[in-house]
Symmetry: C2
Subunit: 250 residues, 2 copies
């Protein structure tokens, strides 16, 4: 059987991977992924006998289509392949492009292995910021027009959703988070709404920031950050950001 796993490795440390993810990576002849994620896998399994002689194929961030084509072609040639994604395989991950490309390789069986996404891993570091209904929005406009992102932010504000913002800020998009905050404030979200930042989730140097919507320290938000905005019931108890599970009174 020709097999391709699309594996969510979570934040990247071995303890954050599921048993199923470890099994798929162990079974694979070839592991394919973005350079940074391949580095995480190699570090997580350093010294592990099962990974001696493992073949790797890495490409820079913007080369998803090359990675997909290579992974599918290699699986079709008979290798057991694992395509790795940070976090979950389906949330802004490689499950979509792999499945979109899979039609041309009907003999390859594709199995998606879910993982711990940054909304939950970062949420755990901050406390329980997503304890009630929430929206996940990426601020990257590389594949999505900014107008769509803006529409989603306004809708999340109108729905009083807790929000997890992925890709909040990078070298090339220094103002994305600030623009998003401006949209939320204009849409009526209270400036005092609790906001939190989780940086470098799953790594030794992980940090969190507890703040409020109008006071997020943008300079401390970067490529490894996930940003959390509360709903109208969220509060900070001093050390944690907590969204109650329910509305005790209507």
């Amino acid at each position: 059987m020709k097999k391709l796993y699309v594996v969510g490795i979570g934040p990247g440390d071995r303890d954050s991977m599921t048993g199923a993810a470890v099994k798929a990576l162990t079974e694979a002849d070839l592991i394919v992924g973005y350079t940074t994620y391949i580095g995480l896998v190699k570090a997580a399994f350093a010294g592990d006998e099962d990974f001696e002689g493992k073949e790797y194929f890495e490409t820079p961030m913007t080369k998803e289509m090359d990675r997909c084509a290579y992974a599918l072609t290699q699986a079709n040639s008979g290798k057991t392949v694992a395509m790795v994604c940070s976090g979950d395989a389906g949330i802004y991950g490689m499950a979509s492009p792999i499945l979109e490309g899979a039609e041309r390789f009907p003999e390859v069986e594709i199995e998606v292995i879910p993982g711990v996404t940054a909304a939950t891993a970062g949420g755990a570091l901050l406390g329980a910021p997503l304890g009630h209904d929430f929206a996940v929005i990426s601020l990257s406009d590389r594949l999505t027009p900014w107008e769509v992102i803006e529409k989603r932010l306004k809708a999340a504000a109108a729905g009083d959703f807790c929000i997890a913002l992925y890709n909040p800020r990078s070298h090339g998009r220094k103002d994305a988070l600030e623009k998003a905050v401006g949209i939320l404030l204009s849409a009526g979200v209270d400036a005092k709404t609790p906001a939190g930042v989780a940086n470098s989730i799953g790594r030794e140097d992980a940090t969190i920031i507890l703040s409020r919507l109008d006071a997020i320290p943008y300079e401390e938000v970067g490529m490894t950050s996930t940003v959390f905005i509360g709903n109208s019931a969220t509060y900070i108890d001093g050390v944690r950001m907590i969204t109650p599970r329910g509305y005790k009174k209507g």
Copy 2:
């Protein structure tokens, strides 16, 4: 050190747990949770030496506050306690109520261990239904007025979010999903929008249903179901529900 872990065990089978979840459960003297989840833990670690002599405390579903009080009190008395939640600890899980109750127990260190939530685990079974921005909404009105749920559904529709619906239907709320679908249709979501159902995720008898918004077979949706509604770009390729990661054209 007095320690209380709030552990997301994912769908419940051992392979879906993270290494950190397994470590916390192994370390715990006492495991506390809803009866069904305690059953999953016992099944996952049946025959495991580390779990011989493990103490368990289980309560019915609606007794969250009893569970929290017991877990915190026992941790404060010196036991290492693990409070288990299905899926993630923070997503409609016990992290919020534990942290809300933690103020009275300042000596207890609380650590939230994230897990694979149904949005990602069910998504993996269906393909990649949440490949772009998405909203997670619970249809349970036990702790949330229906008006709030309705507002969130309308907002998710306005934002063209993919949607994962938790607690879509139960014996006591047979019409919740049908009502929610009606709200989405009234809010302008296309009746032909792909919809999927994942039942009994993580179990031997897991099943999926691929359908469309106006044709979900309500009778096949129950307590173990998670329902997925696509965005305007989602499609079904015959065997899978796929939401592309981006909008190639504006």
